[in-house]
């Protein structure tokens, strides 16, 4: 579980996040949604300590992240996996070396054990036989899957995904969403996803928060999205006439 308490963030005169209080539950896919500039990425970066909040704090279970020293932060981060928007795979490393990197850095596994762990992660993301390819030699969707494999190779307790569907075709997006949901459930980890993908919201949104102008304006599940009267969520999720018609059809059924 990750709990956010009274987070404020200001860049100069610009207030990006205002009094954010929320709990992201273990074993669930928690989604942060909102329009561009709403503060989603800043909130995600505050959660993982890449941006320091102006005030407020973040608890990883009972640990206050912002009271930890650098050494303790590094230790905690070994329990964290992250999938970046552009995958952030190391260009000069092969797929296998990319996934093995955290194992090389932090474990005393034998080469065979590392290899087994890498292969089992690649199997989980349905990507076998690409071990010796370089990131530039595989597609964007495959890079995302390698990114997920690298994020889960240390068996993290917390998984963060920054726009996991961006730049992917709808079918690959669905595969990535399912993969993240399955990993979350199987390993009972706390997963937080930053997305604008409405399909993800409806498919895997077990706990969704909507940010608008730096405020948390709505919280609920994908089921609540259909039934809520909140104008803010309706305007955001069902922004196009096509989606409005689709919603009407769903409710009629």
């Amino acid at each position: 579980m990750i709990r956010v308490e009274k987070i404020y963030k200001q860049f100069g005169d610009l207030e990006v996040l205002k009094d954010i209080n929320v709990e992201f539950e273990r074993g669930k896919t928690n989604l942060i949604i909102g329009r561009s500039g709403a503060g989603k990425t800043v909130l995600l970066k505050i959660l993982i300590g890449l941006i320091i909040p102006t005030s407020g704090t973040v608890f990883y279970d009972d640990t206050d992240f912002y009271k930890l020293n650098k050494k303790q932060i590094r230790k905690l981060r070994m329990e964290v996996g992250m999938l970046f928007q552009a995958s952030a795979l190391f260009d000069s490393y092969t797929v296998e070396e990319n996934i093995r990197f955290p194992l090389d850095m932090f474990t005393n596994f034998t080469p065979a054990e590392k290899s087994n762990r890498v292969n089992s992660c690649l199997e989980k993301v349905n990507l076998e036989g690409v071990n010796n390819r370089y990131p530039s030699e595989i597609s964007g969707g495959m890079q995302k899957r390698v990114g997920i494999a690298r994020a889960i190779v240390m068996h993290p307790q917390y998984l963060f995904c920054d726009e996991p569907n961006s730049g992917l075709d709808p079918k690959t997006s669905i595969l990535i969403d399912q993969l993240i949901r399955d990993i979350t459930r199987e390993n009972n980890i706390t997963t937080i996803i930053n997305t604008h993908d409405m399909n993800s919201v409806m498919e895997i949104g077990e706990n969704i928060i909507l940010l608008q102008d730096g405020h948390l304006v709505w919280q609920g599940s994908s089921g609540d999205v259909l039934s809520t009267d909140s104008g803010i969520i309706q305007n955001f999720i069902f922004a196009s006439p096509f989606l409005q018609r689709l919603k009407k059809l769903a409710l009629e059924k």
Binding site: I48, Q85, A88, P102, D104, M105, F106, F160
Partner: protein, 235 residues
């Protein structure tokens, strides 16, 4: 501060060792040709110029060998080699680390719990401190060879005169001075670009600016430290 962080104890020595070897290959082997080429012509031009300047004077021709040797060892080999390397290696380090910052590779490592300052900078510093003095030593030898090849066959002075000059007034302390300079310059030309690259923000324009700043600052600091080392070691 960044330097302090980079000295933070490495977790896995074998990974750091592998990275250090990779950077030793990049910095050392990757710079051999350019350093050799420049050193050869520096030696050649020095010999030709001094031959011209000593022409018509009472100073014996064999002094050219002595002048070329000491100028090369004390000043030209360490300084010119490191100024060139500040351009080649320094801009490469700033762009490589800066590119990693922009592509979120550094953030990815941070989130894994890696001490990125240490992982990205320490192996480069060790590689630089090991390889650059060797390159400077090589440059000194090639420079003297260049002076010989460019002057003796065209009759500016004889081989005997040049070799006699090379053996005159030899002081091993000058070689020590060359190595002191090369170590200090190596440290400068690795750490300044690493700092510029590590702290780059923004897009390609900022990356270009960081790379330029890395080369300019490295050159300025190399020249400044050259002066202070000369003062310290010769007065």
């Amino acid at each position: 501060m960044l330097l302090g962080q980079s000295l933070g104890g490495p977790r896995k020595l074998n990974i750091y060792f592998r990275e250090t070897i990779r950077h030793m290959m990049d910095i050392g082997i990757g710079s051999v040709i350019i350093v050799a080429l420049i050193a050869f012509f520096i030696g050649a031009v020095t010999a030709v110029q001094f031959s011209y300047q000593l022409g018509g004077t009472l100073i014996p021709r064999y002094y050219i060998g002595y002048i070329v040797r000491d100028m090369t060892i004390i000043e030209l080999a360490p300084t010119i080699t490191c100024l060139v390397l500040a351009g080649k290696v320094g801009s490469n380090i700033a762009s490589e680390i800066g590119g990693m910052r922009q592509k979120e590779h550094i953030d990815a490592m941070e989130i894994m719990g890696v001490n990125t300052a240490s992982f990205l900078i320490l192996p480069r510093v060790i590689a630089g401190l090991t390889m650059i003095p060797l390159l400077v030593f090589m440059a000194a030898i090639i420079s003297i060879f260049g002076a010989f090849v460019a002057s003796v066959p065209i009759g500016l002075f004889s081989a005997d005169e040049f070799i006699k000059g090379l053996g005159m007034f030899y002081d091993p302390y000058n070689v020590f001075m060359m190595f002191v300079k090369s170590v200090v310059f190596a440290f400068i030309l690795i750490t300044i670009p690493a700092y510029q690259g590590y702290n780059v923000r923004g897009g390609s324009i900022e990356l270009g600016n960081a790379s330029t700043a890395a080369v300019v600052f490295s050159n300025v600091f190399i020249l400044l430290s050259d002066y202070f080392i000369a003062l310290l070691l010769t007065t």
